[in-house]
Amino acid sequence: MTAATDFTIAGARAALARREISATELATAHLDAIAALNPRVNAYITVTPEVALAQAAAADAALSKGEAGPLTGIPLAVKDLFCTAGTRTTAASKILGDFKPPYESTVTSQLLRDGAVFLGKANLDEFAMGSSNESSAFGGVENPWKRQGDDAVLVPGGSSGGSAAAVAARLALGATATDTGGSIRQPAAFCGIVGIKPTYGRCSRFGIVAYASSLDQAGPVARTVEDCAILLNSMAGFDPKDSTSADRAVPDFAAAVARGVKGLRIGIPREYRVEGLSPEIDALWRKGMEWLKAEGATLVDISLPHTKYALPTYYIVAPAEASSNLARYDGVRFGIREEGADLKDLYERSRAAGFGAEVKRRILIGTYVLSAGYYDAYYVKAQQVRALIKRDFDQAWGQVDAILTPATPTAAFGRDETQDDPVAMYLNDVFTITANLAGIPGMSVPAGLDARGLPLGLQILGRPFDEETVFAVGGAIERVAGFTATPSVRAAA
């Protein structure tokens, strides 16, 4: 029998249904693994054994009554950006202090509705701002993967680094994550797992701590494409509490995974062959093209001419929205407070003490680009370029059904190899960020290992609200790639 922590979600669901394992056993196995590994991996900020065991007991009761939902008894990690009623929610920032939301995010409440068990709150970059998980006020996360013959600690990517590392290290069967510029896909690629950012508006943002509202989108990370589909089916759906939520039916994503790619036209954007792209990643990308061709897809060369402007566009739009979204952290209604001589002093001290360096940097950039005299030159200009980036994709959809690109320009890097230069760090998101700006779905699938044994991912981009094709292409790559490698740091290893 599979070790409890090695199940896929689909596999665990079948085993639970056959009563080969109980939800309590499944939860306990994961809680034990967390107790053993989390002090090192630091994938969880908060572990909630009481919550998990109570939910598991309820799951077992439902299973015995034959009332199981799609996720009954499935142990998950929740990115600590989702508000969870009664459980401390930090956004990996000091500023929220001991904030316990009296409400549940729509996404997590849908997972709970479907029977999921929450093991705890996963680590992330502070307020989801980062690509390495090093900006967390609760310490960095260790990537469970190691380079061959090298014990150096690698970063798991970010911002959903805790979610990705937890899933890769077998500390959860799946996890919720969010993606503003690549925060699902880049850590999924770095940790050798699957992650999908659905179309903007597919998952409700209600109850998710906002970073950049027009770009933020929730999605799952899991170890298989099918598991991601199962999770997304639960997480997605129209929510009247979010004015940007799309009022559309949620298709059966899981059914699309095995659909195949025969007859699909797959776009290969020439602008993604960027400077600094690792030769191994370039080789993997070509391999992916060959696989899809062999599976019956047609490859089409396409052009997305404004791609190179995506990063600077993002670094105007996201900080601008963040500077406003983060104004509510002022030490008055929740979170930490540093007393001051007057109200302004209180605000300035509380925010200076509560926010980390990267968050402050982005708040300052965002405040500056919105300020009088600069708004048109920066913000309006960026939103115009954003419109052009979206137009590039709109035009591509006339020729192709999905687009294949690398997920990241490099494999996971070492914790001590990260550059002090913020711009160099921002380049991590060069392939993922266009999907957020255009609002389209994107998935990262592990497709191979580099020469030093680190996982590499391929990215599939799709039309708005056509996650099904993305799942179909992702499923095909997963089957052909046959990626079975596991990280050296993991439960039951």
């Binding site: 202090g97 940007t244 209604r333 200076a352 370029v385």
Partner: protein
């Protein structure tokens, strides 16, 4: 466009972030690095392009005018770092 120290100070004040004098040179250099890099956008011809505000729904859905929320005074106040009975409390504001 490049930031000087006075502008960094002003922006930090607008953003209500206390910045110590000693931090200013580093911040100024970092922000200028980022802004210099962002500058490349000016090369894009955007004449006549309608700025894109966001994704998602095309237009607002109108909610019904019914009282469905509120009446949760204690929950609203529960996380406050300083409260006085049924109020949030802050240092006295002079208008």
């Amino acid at each position: 466009m490049s930031l000087d120290t006075a502008t960094v100070r002003r922006v930090a004040s607008l953003a209500r972030l206390r910045v110590e004098e000693a931090e200013l040179p580093r911040l100024e250099a970092e922000l200028n690095g980022i802004l210099g890099w962002i500058e490349q956008l000016q090369a894009v011809d955007t004449t006549g392009v309608e700025p894109m505000a966001g994704g998602g729904a095309e237009q607002l859905r109108l909610r019904e005018d019914r009282v469905t929320d509120g009446g949760i005074q204690q929950q609203v106040l529960a996380n406050a770092p300083d409260r006085a009975d049924v109020f949030f409390s802050v240092p006295k504001v002079v208008e």
